[in-house]
């Protein structure tokens, strides 16, 4: 064996690619060749150093952010950049998709009645259908026509499940929509969630700056079921304001008495 062959085999030795016989031949050569045995020692040291590179503990935040991402519900982002034009297209597609889903549920239910997977399958389809419905509501809420926006609120009102994205849009409608009827419809539909602190907070804030008496009355009604110091303060604030209609003050006073 010559030194060139030996060098190649030293490298292969560490990959466990030599046969016993080859390893024996290499050993013999190394015993008699100072250069190659030096090369072998160097390789040995380099490989040992590399294989014992220090391992550090990874930061704990990696796991928590991973779990957060893993359990995050899938949200389909359908925020239209041009609400008027895109929403009608999305709306049409979503309504069509809903019909297809319903037919599919019916079709598969018939053929797979004895299959255990049917329940899971239907629940998956229902979830998907729910998502489509919510997306349709979101798209309709951006429609230019106030009556379409009210229709969207009606559709959502039939659903008792709280959807944070829709609630957020509805709160925005309550505060900023150009049409008072849409604002009132929004208030009515969110008021069933009034016990959630962030919604309650929004209602109180809006009441304090609200100018429309009819909307003031609606908000007072929504808040009247909560017996908390914040509500008392809000009612007192309203009573003392000079620009508030007398009949609104009467309503505020009634709520105040019922709380105290």
């Amino acid at each position: 064996m010559n030194c060139k062959q030996s060098e190649k085999w030293i490298s292969e030795f560490y990959e466990s690619q030599l046969s016993n016989q080859q390893a024996e031949q290499l050993k013999k050569h190394l015993n008699g060749c100072k250069d190659c045995s030096g090369l072998f020692d160097d390789y040995d040291m380099i490989i040992n150093s590399l294989s014992s590179l220090p391992n550090v503990e990874s930061p704990k935040e990696i796991k928590s952010s991973f779990l957060h991402e893993l359990n995050r519900p899938k949200v389909i982002d359908l925020k239209p950049t041009e609400p008027k034009r895109r929403s009608s297209k999305i709306q049409a597609l979503q309504i069509a998709a809903s019909f297809v889903l319903f037919f599919m549920i019916g079709f598969f239910a018939k053929d797979l009645m004895n299959d255990n997977r049917i329940e899971n399958y239907i629940s998956e389809l229902k979830t998907e259908n729910e998502t489509l419905k919510n997306n349709m509501v979101l798209a309709l809420l951006e429609n230019q026509s106030p009556s379409m926006r009210i229709k969207a609120i009606d559709i959502y009102e039939k659903n008792d499940v709280r959807n944070d994205e829709i609630i957020k849009v509805l709160l925005d409608k309550m505060n900023n929509d150009s049409n008072d009827n849409v604002r009132m419809a929004a208030i009515k539909s969110i008021s069933k969630f009034i016990s959630f602190s962030e919604i309650k907070k929004e209602f109180i804030q809006q009441l304090k700056k609200e100018k429309n008496p009819n909307i003031q009355i609606l908000i007072i009604e929504a808040l009247s079921n909560i017996k908390e110091i914040e509500i008392i303060n809000a009612m007192k604030y309203l009573k003392n304001r000079q620009d508030v209609e007398e009949y609104v003050k009467v309503e505020a006073n009634r709520t105040l008495k019922s709380i105290i």
């Binding site: 380099i46 590179l53 990696i62």
Partner: protein, 180 residues
């Protein structure tokens, strides 16, 4: 069968069908290895944390694109792609002089004081290699990956990888002789 007894590939097959628990098991098996690989490559602890997070986010998002094959090759390919994007962002062609960040001095066992100088020299040389060379040598000699596996990750063939590793080893030895 318990999830702990399943292979990486079996777990990933379950994960790609929506089994979140299987995905978490894979995370636990690989996160430390991926983090340390990225830390050794970049020398930056915080960047390695971000990159590791992104590897697993990508794993979650692309779970359906897993079509079998060795899982470790797949996740290392994701890791590698993200790492190269990271380098492109930083406009570095060579990652060097990070030895102060990746504190070998602190981490080397005191009881092996005799080998310390020699080991430190090797780590310095490692940091002076080209990114591709460092990556290859870390995968092969530090992570114990086979040529076949590395070839899949790098879209190459095992004999080409073997030849490259051989050349890099020669280079490390030559540089080592130069420092001593």
């Amino acid at each position: 069968m318990k999830l702990t007894e399943l292979s990486d590939e079996e777990l990933m097959a379950l994960a790609s069908n929506g089994n979140l628990e299987a995905m978490e098991y894979l995370f636990d098996r690989y996160q430390k290895r991926i983090f340390n690989f990225l830390y050794q490559m970049s020398g930056d602890y915080t960047d390695s944390q971000d990159l590791t997070q992104n590897v697993f986010y990508k794993l979650i998002r692309n779970k359906k694109s897993y079509k079998g094959g060795q899982f470790s090759s797949w996740i290392f390919r994701i890791t590698r792609n993200l790492f190269y994007d990271y380098i492109a962002d930083k406009r570095k062609s060579k990652i060097s002089n990070n030895i102060e960040n990746y504190d070998y001095y602190e981490m080397i066992d005191e009881s092996e004081a005799d080998n310390r100088r020699q080991q430190l020299n090797i780590y310095k040389i490692l940091n002076e290699l080209k990114v591709e060379e460092k990556e290859l040598i870390l995968m092969c000699k530090s992570n114990g990956m086979r040529y076949q596996e590395i070839a899949v990750i790098m879209n190459s063939n095992p004999s080409a990888i073997k030849m490259k590793v051989y050349r890099i080893m020669k280079k490390i030895r030559k540089n080592l002789k130069g420092t001593s």
